[in-house]
Amino acid sequence: MTFNIYDFTSFNQWIDKTLYDNLPSFWALIIEMTLIGVAFLLFYAVIGLFLVYAERKVCAFIQNRVGPNRVGPYGIFQTIADFIKLLMKEIIPINNADKFLFNLAPFIVIIASFMAIAAIPFGKGLHAIDFNIGIFYVMAVSSLGVVGILLAGWSSNNKYSLIGAMRSGAQIVSYELSVGLSMVTMVILAGSMQLSEIVEAQRNGWFIFTGHIPAFIAFVIFLIASTAETNRGPFDLAEAESELTAGFHTEYSGIKFAFFFLAEYMNMFIVASIAATIFWGGWMPLHIGGWVGFNHAMDFIPPFFWYMGKTLIVIFLMMWFKWTFPRLRIDQLLKLEWKYLLPINLFNIILMALVVLMGWHF
């Protein structure tokens, strides 16, 4: 066995082989699934805590503030303290709420986001499932979250929640189209829906560079649409705290609220990693043609860090909009999608098809 930080394939194969050699195949499978589950749970928790901290710091710097700075050095343990607080908080039961759906909703939201990370390649050989329809799977699963939001809004028996949930429904159904179509644009360029192959296809240049104009348009559309899909500002109409107090999660408290909160950050992480994967080369290092020394130096940075770096930059972009723009109105939001993004997107697909057909890409 060789543990190589640049390529996890052999390491994974070694674990797989050892387990199957020593145990009945049923138990080996169970253990493998448990290992992956535990790994993802840990990852999920760490990323969730980190992103909440990062958002608070980023927003603080945008707003001329210092941000959390009391718990631990630079306040890095602030979110852990918050999380403990949320765990210990009372879960307030709501009279006249639909108890079953009310309790179910946060789990649907969090499971949907949890399922989506399974297909994301974090490094070479470092992903749970490498579907041949990876992108399709991520798209399908990540849009399940809206069911949870709708249920939460409906079952709370609160008028604000209901309006928030309906807004969210309209918004996600619309923007799903743009997210999907901009991904399709990149699938045309990649020639595959398998995420590992899409990354592999970017070995000699990230798609944002090789696909130039149509890829860039697709990226901008993806960024707008995915921000809308994650219900983040300036598209946070479902929450809209100045209009609907807190929208669909008005009535939630304690750990159930924390689930919605975490799911929002995880969704943001997922869309950012998809953006990094299909536009910015996933875990591929930056290579510039002809610069051998530079390329070599870039290769020294492990793929996981490349991947995380790109993802965090996209997340930073999304945070940046959230803290500078005012919120859109529901009709403007839908107008933006159906009148602008969708036609541009359809045109862009044709453009991309043409680019691929004529070989105009690099």
Partner: protein, 374 residues
């Protein structure tokens, strides 16, 4: 099995009524708006006031004129100084006391600082209402400097009660002039930042253009004054048309627009901040020497009769009506609060728009609830 016949009359159609407030982030206080909705569209708005009705007018009937001043702070707490001044001017005019020039200058400067602070806070809150959370910190950063000036000179940051019949409670702090000048230099640099962050933003333009239109006739009929009225072209600036204190000595522009939508109400306030700075600049170097107050008798008795004094508070025309019977307590005091009249137009402005627009309209009217409820 019987056929199920659905009688249309049996289907009960109810209005979807949402209570915005009394606890709601964008009513800026304990105001309750009962909204009938059709989908996202607001059909009718019915304001319910009175959650913090304290009976200030009744209390005033048992207080002396000096004491009344302290209650006026609690009306529109963001225009505390202006409200104080209204009562002081009323008493001075009734007793025909000429206050020293120095007092007039200082009062005017403090008035304009109050207006600046109030408009800054409005700007913060307006951004928040529209979902741009960063504005809050930019506005408060600059407002803090004004509050520091107030603190040093008047001893209080928000509810100053610095005016007294016949002058001021005390002379200005030696640092006052220097600090005000520093602030103006600072804020002249920072105000364009406000425009960069919010005014030029496409989303803000989309959200506020053509929202909550109020024509000139409606503005006059509803009595919508202040920047909200002036955005509709209602020339209602008391400072200009019925000058008091030192306003007749300064040159400033009355900001008037004709369109009367949310964006122009926004614009009118931002422009007013520039005008306020201009007024302060004209006065700050020329504060005459002299007394800060004239000597008054400890018990003030107004001659019998009715008095009315109008001043321009940050949100519109503030008026005090006093009916005196010659006693040391007034017989009847009425405060004409700008927000009360401005609120009455909210159904006209908001009906037919979306919920999100209603929030923008509420923000653009800049309501302060204690002033409505009194």
């Amino acid at each position: 099995m019987e056929d199920i016949i659905i009688n249309e009359n049996q289907i009960k159609q109810e209005e979807y009524i949402v209570n915005m407030g009394p606890q709601h982030p964008s009513t800026h206080g304990v105001l309750r708006l009962k909204i009938s909705l059709k989908g996202e569209t607001v059909e009718h708005i019915e304001p319910h006031c009175g959650y913090i009705h304290r009976g200030i007018e009744k209390m005033c009937e048992r207080l002396t004129y000096q004491q009344i001043i302290h209650l006026t702070d609690r009306l529109d707490y963001l225009s505390a100084h202006t409200n104080n001044e209204a009562v002081c001017l009323l008493v001075e005019n009734a007793l025909q006391i000429e206050v020293p020039e120095r007092v007039k200058y200082i009062r005017t400067i403090l008035d304009e600082l109050t207006r600046l602070a109030s408009h800054q806070l409005w700007w913060c809150a307006f951004g928040m209402d529209l979902g741009a959370l960063t504005t809050y910190f930019y506005g408060l950063r600059d407002r803090e400097l004004i509050l520091d000036i107030f603190e040093e000179t008047t001893g209080a940051r928000l509810l100053q009660s610095f005016n007294t019949p016949g002058g001021l409670m005390n002379d200005i702090h030696p640092n006052f002039i220097k600090k005000v000048k520093e602030f103006i230099v600072h804020f002249r640099k920072k105000l364009p930042e406000y425009d960069e962050l919010l005014t030029g933003n496409v989303i803000l333009r989309e959200r506020t253009n053509d929202i909550g239109l109020l024509t000139l006739e409606e503005a006059i009929s509803y009595g919508v004054t202040g920047p909200s009225g002036r955005a509709s072209g209602f020339a209602c600036d008391v400072r200009k048309h019925h000058p008091y204190s030192a306003y007749d000595k300064v040159d400033f522009k009355e900001i008037l627009y004709t369109k009367g939508d949310c964006f122009h109400r926004y614009k009118a306030r931002v422009e007013e901040m520039w005008e306020s700075m201009k007024i302060i600049e004209q006065l700050i170097d020329n504060i005459p020497e002299g007394d800060y107050a004239v000597k008054m008798k400890p018990i003030i008795k107004l001659p019998e009769g009715e008095y009315y004094q109008r001043v321009e508070a940050a949100r519109g025309e503030f008026g005090v009506y006093v009916l005196s019977t010659g006693e040391k307590y007034p017989y009847r005091v009425k405060f004409r609060s700008p927000n009360f009249s401005n609120l009455s137009a909210i159904n006209k402005l908001g009906a037919g728009h979306k919920i999100a627009d209603l929030v923008a309209i509420g923000g653009s009217l800049d309501l302060v609830i204690p002033d409505i409820d009194r």
